[in-house]
Chain length 227, copies 2
C-alpha cells in the first residue's frame, strides 16, 4: 500500500517537473514571439497552454485520488496537498506566458515593445526561464539551499521591472497604447517570477516539515513605487 502510494507520489512529482518544463518553454517562446513579432509562434504558445492545463488536471486528479484511497497523514499528506498548490502556481505561470503571447498577437505585424526596451524585456524573459528551470530542479532534488536562493534570484526580475517603470515615468515618447502594453507585460513577467518563488518556497516547507500556509501568491509588485 505504501509502496503504491510512493510510486504515485513519484508520478505527481514528475508531473510537476514536466509543468516547469512546459511553463519555461511557453515563456521562452512567448518572449521570442513578442520581440520578433512572430505571429505563428505566438499562436503556438496560446494553443500549447491547453497542454499545461491538462497535465495540471491529471496531476490534481491523481492527488485527490491518493487522498481518497490512501488517506495519507503527516509528511505524505503534506506532500499531496503541497503538490496541488504547486500545480496551481505552475498552471498560472502558463497563463501568464499565454498573456504575453496574446499581446504579441495583438500588435502583429508590429512588436509591442519599443526598440529601446527590447533588451530589458529579453532579460526579463531569461530571468523567468531561469527561475522556473531552477524551481523544476528544486522539485526533483529537494535542494532547499537552491530553493532559498530563488527568492534572491527573483530580485533581478524586480530590478528589471522597476527599470520598466522608470522608463515609463521619464519622458515616455511611445504613446499611451505602448505604455499600457509595457505595464501589463511587466506585470506578467513579474508575477511569473513570483509564482516560481512560491513553488520553491513550498519545497522548503515540505522538507522542513512545516505547512506553507503563508507563502501563497506573494506579490512583489507591492514594493514598486510607480512615481
Amino acid at each position: 500500500m505504501r509502496e503504491v502510494f510512493h510510486q504515485n507520489l513519484k508520478i505527481v512529482s514528475d508531473q510537476l517537473v514536466e509543468l516547469t518544463h512546459l511553463a519555461g518553454s511557453a515563456m521562452s517562446r512567448a518572449t521570442t514571439a513578442l520581440i520578433d513579432a512572430d505571429l505563428a509562434l505566438a499562436e503556438s504558445v496560446i494553443t500549447a497552454d491547453q497542454r499545461i492545463d491538462e497535465v495540471r488536471a491529471e496531476l490534481d486528479a491523481l492527488a485527490i485520488d491518493l487522498l481518497a484511497r490512501q488517506q495519507p497523514v503527516a509528511g505524505d499528506l503534506r506532500m499531496v496537498v503541497t503538490s496541488m498548490r504547486m500545480s496551481s502556481d505552475l498552471e498560472r505561470m502558463g497563463d501568464l506566458a499565454r498573456h504575453i503571447a496574446k499581446v504579441a498577437r495583438l500588435r502583429y505585424p508590429n512588436s509591442a515593445v519599443p526598440a529601446e526596451l527590447r533588451a530589458t524585456i529579453v532579460e526579463m524573459g531569461h530571468i523567468a526561464e531561469e527561475l522556473v528551470a531552477k524551481a523544476g530542479s528544486v522539485i526533483a532534488s529537494r535542494d532547499i539551499v537552491a530553493a532559498q536562493e530563488l527568492e534572491h534570484d527573483d530580485d533581478a526580475m524586480d530590478a528589471k521591472h522597476r527599470e520598466l517603470f522608470t522608463r515609463l515615468a521619464d519622458k515616455w515618447t511611445h504613446g499611451t497604447t505602448a505604455a499600457v502594453d509595457i505595464t501589463l507585460l511587466g506585470r506578467y513577467y513579474e508575477r511569473f517570477g513570483d509564482h516560481a518563488v512560491s513553488v520553491a518556497s513550498r519545497v522548503v516547507y515540505l522538507v522542513t516539515g512545516e505547512w506553507d500556509l503563508a507563502v501563497d501568491h506573494e506579490d512583489h509588485e507591492d514594493d514598486l513605487d510607480l512615481s
Copy 2:
C-alpha cells in the same frame, strides 16, 4: 466522529463567508480611498489585509487537520479540498484590494484617477462588492442558480474594463503615469471579479458532485483587445 467532522466543516464554511465579508469591505474602502485620495483609509486597508491572511491560514490549518484526522472521502473530501481552493481565491482578492489601496497611497494627496474616469472606477468597485457579496451568499446557501449567475454578472465588470481601455486608446490627455495607474487598477478590479466567479463556480462543482479541476484562475483579460 462524523458529527464532529460536520461541525468542523461548518466552521470552515463560516470562515469562507467571513473572508468574503473582509474582502468586500477591503474593496469598498480601497475604492473610496482611491477616489477621495484618503490616505488614512488607504492605510487601514493595507493593514487590514493581514487579518484576511490570518483567517485564511486558520481555515487552511483546520482543513488540513480534518484531512489528517478524519480522512474524509467522496463529498466530504471534495468539500475540504474545495474550501482550500476558495480560501486561496479570497486571500488573493484581499491582495488585489490592498494593491488598489497602495495606488491610492502612492498618489496622495492627489487621486490616481482622472475626474472623467471616476464614475467608471466607482462602478467597478460596486460591481466587485456585489460579486463578492453574492459569492458569500452562494457559499452559505449552496444556491447553484445564483452561483451560475455570477459569471454573467461579471460581464458588467468586463464591460467597464473595456471602457477603461477604450479611454486609454483614444486621445488620452492625462499623461503616462496616469495611464500606467489606470491600466493596473483596471486589472486589479477585473481579477477581483474573476476570483469571485471562481469561488461561485467551485460551489457549483461541490453541489453537482464534480471536481473543479478546470475553473482555477479564469482570466477574462484574455478577451480584451487593447487596440
